[in-house]
Amino acid sequence: MTNSRTVRALQAAAGIIALAAGWQILSMVFPHYLFPPIREIIARTIEILITGSLLIDVLLTAGRIFGGLFGAFILGGILAMIIGQSRSAENFIAPVLTFFQGIPALSWVVFAIIWFHGIEFRVLFIMVMTTLPAFTFQILDAFRSMSKDLFEMTMAFRPSRWSLFRFLIVPTIVPGILTAWKVNLGNAARVVVVAELVGATGGVGYQLLRQQQLFDMAGAMAWTLQLVLFVLVVQQTIAAIENWALRYRAVSERAM
């Protein structure tokens, strides 16, 4: 298993190295303001990470992503539980969520700017509205995949609603919740940049707008990398939580 992990890590590294090499070659052919050398991008990336006043923008964006995802997760979880227990509620709520899913993130940005004044509330609103349908449907799917056998077995002990939720429902939906977080994290990272680009005075999106105005490609790449690094770190953290929470699964299920 360790060998296969090493091979996978090497393959992933090879892909990134090939991409970087391609970029470096382009930087030799084209002017640096279009394709800055890798060394310069890395230096600017490190500069952001070690400069407090710049790092705060990264943390601001991270906070907005987490805030939005957490809000959508809580709201989506509640909606999923309501829909899961009532066909009428599903008939009422599901079409609305499907309708929301069809609205582009940029439209939500425009709506938020027209409707609200506070920057943070605008971003939170945009984040929640764009990730809510996916969270709801993914948690609902996990809830509905609950084993009838396990449900009957648990009911045979006559649990209270709280016991049923704690001992059966939560462990059943945990894999679905983790998947929902992984999927929505990438979406949220893209949406937050759009939201910040248009209506914020801080954050990675705002900084990207500044780099565009300065025509600074190395800066744009460095700020983009901040977001990529953030997503990678959080994805790895979720993967670690997943490995711990789903440790009961047979090894063969995770060996590949």
């Binding site: 056998d149 396990l150 009957e152 002990f157 006559r158 001992f167 009961y248 047979a250």
Partner: protein, 256 residues
Amino acid sequence: MSGVDAVIRFKDVTKTFKRPDGRGDFVAVDRLSFEIAKGEIVAVLGKTGCGKSTMFNIVAGLVQPSSGEAKVIGRDPFREFEFFRGKVGIVFQNDRLMPWRSALDNVRLGLQILDTDPMEAEDIARAWLKRLGLAGHDNDYPHALSGGMRQRVSIARAFAVNPEILLCDEPFSSLDEMTARDLRAEFVRLVRQSNKTAIFITHQINEAMEIGDRVMVFHRPARIAYEATLGAAVTEDARRGINEDIMRVLAVEQPR
């Protein structure tokens, strides 16, 4: 037996289900009447689809009769669902272990639902695992246990709450004969020791005669086609006669 002494009492119980294709009703249990006394083990035999499991689910309080009266400890198991908390233990055909819980935690489930003190629950669960030959497997997850071991865990889970009534739905049918024989013997010993009342559903005549104080043979839809009392006083010749009678009754073609 007078109705007052009976721990489980069915009087003209009928259960009908709607056919999935919407074409009328399907009768699973047809005016079924019987009584089971405290400490009695009753084996229920019948062909697949004869309504044994529906009767089982009515006793368990998981299904409501369409008509007639089903009483367990003098109460309605469906309407007075809460009353039976900790009073009924069930061993199902498949082990129905929660894959995310260790063997110990699976045995502890019923005790947790009953709000037993955590330390006490752990001691009880450990003692039951040891009693069923699973000492040292406390922390193993179900996927790491053999079929026989998993079924032992499910038996331990049922006994751990010290129920007055045990319901067993073909609990050893998926095991090899050697393992099933050992577990059967262990099961009967445990039930007799604790003077529990038990309904044991099976489709194997030998198993029914080995376990039951009484054997009831069901025809489709569930109604008693044959009944015989067993026990130490019954001679080998009489047992052979009962065995032949059961085979004859089961051989009768039953309408679907």
